[in-house]
């Protein structure tokens, strides 16, 4: 078998193992208290009967290991259980929200990835001069403010002061695609701002690293223009690190979405998770945690696989 296929198979197996272990960790995370979940949900003043009923509904009378495996096998088959608060099927109410969240994240990715790579290239081209310095300055500022505050600053200045776009991003199925895009404009802008700085900085570092190589010096001595050097010689060799950067930031985006959805009251996974954490609806929280962890681990796995594929020494072994 080709060694690359073997490497990729190994990486996928590792990803699945990690996912399995993280499901156990998420499950254990909700069992951390010495008391039990029923008590935590109902509070100190709960009657013994109510506690007993809830324990029976949640299956808390079984040992933790049995419950974990029941939950895990259910989740593998797409059955995430029912929510405590409204008794609805979790997978059903999640499907629609997951679609919304992925739509939001995809819009943000489509805007931010090309922009970040272009600005990163620009920073390398003007290394040490004002565009480069401006980019570093913006990076420092944007990592110093939490995402939700960037959200409110954007709402305050763009939606309220300039009167553009709606401060709330309400979407539903009856809206046309264009209306949906209009509704998510502000959250997309905020998410772009959040990941842009990181992505730009890491792209810049990756390309600068390649620019130190001997073949770049050769290209310079050949008399190529600096943009041509960057995109013909430096960029192809920086693809692996850049894809890595992009994937890590997309994974980060998935988490940033949680907070931004709350800011803009967007009907997605993040809002769903946060609502149910405060209602102490443990099955929903576990299910959401599992989905977020799966997306996060999946993104990191793809990043690794792409960097394996982008490495010519691995693709064409001696």
């Amino acid at each position: 078998m080709h060694p690359v296929i073997l490497l990729i198979a190994q990486r996928i197996a590792l990803g699945l193992l990690l996912l399995l272990a993280s499901s156990a960790l998420i499950f254990a995370g909700t069992q951390i208290l010495p008391g039990d979940v029923a008590q935590a949900i109902l509070g100190q003043s709960a009657t013994p009967e109510a506690l007993e009923n809830l324990r029976r509904d949640l299956g808390l009378n079984d040992p933790a290991l049995t419950r974990y495996f029941n939950w895990l096998f259910g989740a593998i088959q797409g059955d995430l259980g029912t929510a405590l608060t409204n008794g609805k099927d979790i997978a059903e109410s999640m499907g629609y929200r997951l679609k919304n969240t992925l739509f939001l994240a995809a819009c943000a990715a489509i805007v931010s990835v090309p922009l970040a790579i272009f600005l990163g290239l620009l920073a390398v081209r003007y290394h040490g001069r004002w565009p480069d310095k401006a980019i570093s300055g913006v990076t420092l500022a944007s990592i110093s403010v939490p995402e939700f505050l960037i959200g409110y600053i954007v709402v305050y200045f763009i939606a309220v002061k300039l009167g553009m776009f709606s401060p709330l991003a309400m979407v539903n199925d009856s809206m046309s695609f264009w209306d949906k895009l209009n509704a998510v404009a502000l959250p997309v802008l905020v998410l772009t701002l959040v990941v842009l700085a990181h992505m730009m900085r890491m792209t810049r570092a990756a390309i600068l690293n390649v620019m130190q190589s001997a073949y770049i010096e050769t290209a310079e001595l050949k008399g190529l223009s600096s943009f041509k050097i960057i995109y013909r010689h430096a960029f192809p060799n920086a693809i692996a690190p850049i894809v890595n950067v992009v994937m890590l930031n997309l994974a980060y985006l998935v988490v940033g979405v949680v907070v931004i959805e709350v800011v803009f009251v967007y009907p997605g996974m993040g809002q769903y998770l946060v609502d149910h954490v405060s209602k102490r609806d443990v099955p929903v929280v576990q299910a959401c945690g599992l989905i977020f962890a799966a997306v996060y681990i999946g993104m990191n796995m793809i990043a690794d696989i792409v960097s394996i594929l982008a490495n010519p020494r691995l693709r064409h072994p001696k």
Binding site: Y156, V160, V277
Partner: protein, 272 residues
């Protein structure tokens, strides 16, 4: 301490200012934290420097008390994460073998789940109190410190002076605290600043989501949550904490950068 660059001085000044304000909050704040003194969302005036909040409390006093809560929790969580993370990291590096394997793989696993998501999962069953917040934030963040501490300690552990100490017959405690710790201190101190900022941001996010500091207590994230409705009417009360968090974060960053640069030049880096 003579050649402190101007950026670090600015950073030190503002960091010091914030910590002092936090310590002296009851004497500095013009009004009490929960005291209703005026109308809802009054604009800033000589009486209320930053205006009033959603139920007529003085925003400046609330920011000062909120800063106290934020800084206290963030500091406590940072200390917890540093002590746990670095002790375990050093231990893993010095002892090696299966302890190192178990700890490192466990940390890898913890880091494969986004911190915020895992914190939300845990906070869904635990009572949201300040000690619990410190515990959850500190332990989750200890994984990052562990990584750094272990990486640094593995390098130091193969140095000649550590070898010499081992041959002298010093115990593990001596190796960790007398040989490795002093030499690992500078990268750790620089990281301390970044971790502290991360804690401030993390706590603000949790409070904003309603899962952090509970009312009537407030921290900066909570103040945003209380005043967020005002934004739509053009009232900037919710933006005020942004300025506070950003200036604190940037000034701590400037100090951390300086510490890092200073220590690399001590180790024979170029320039100074």
């Amino acid at each position: 301490m003579k050649n402190i660059p101007i950026s670090a001085l600015i950073g030190l000044f503002f960091t010091g200012l914030y910590f002092l304000t936090a310590l002296l909050a009851p004497w500095i704040a013009p009004y009490g934290m929960g005291e209703i003194v005026g109308d809802v969302w009054e604009p800033s005036s000589s009486e209320y420097l930053l205006g009033t909040d959603s139920i007529g409390r003085d925003l400046l006093s609330r920011m000062i008390y909120g800063g106290r809560t934020t800084i206290f929790i963030a500091t406590a969580a940072t200390i917890l994460s540093f002590v746990t993370g670095s002790v375990l990291g050093f231990l893993a590096a010095v002892v090696g073998g299966w302890i190192d394997q178990v700890l490192s793989r466990f940390v890898d696993l913890m880091m494969s789940i986004p911190t915020l998501i895992f914190a939300l999962v845990v906070l869904s069953v635990t009572p949201v109190t300040i000690p619990m917040l410190i515990l959850v934030m500190g332990l989750l963040d200890a994984t990052r410190v562990y990584r750094l501490a272990r990486a640094v300690a593995v390098d130091i552990n193969v140095m000649d002076y550590v070898e010499a100490a081992k041959l002298r017959g010093e115990g593990r405690g001596w190796i960790i605290f007398r040989e490795i710790l002093p030499n690992a201190l500078s990268p750790l101190v620089a990281e301390l600043g970044l971790r502290f900022i991360f804690m401030v941001l993390f706590l603000s996010t949790l409070s904003f989501l309603g899962l952090g500091v509970q009312p009537p207590e407030a921290d900066w994230g909570g103040i945003v949550k209380e005043n967020k409705e005002g934004i739509v009417y053009g009232i900037p009360a919710a933006i005020v904490p942004a300025v506070a968090i950003a200036t604190l974060a940037i000034s701590v960053n400037l100090v951390a950068d300086w510490v890092l640069n200073r220590t690399t030049s001590l180790k024979g880096g170029r320039g100074g």
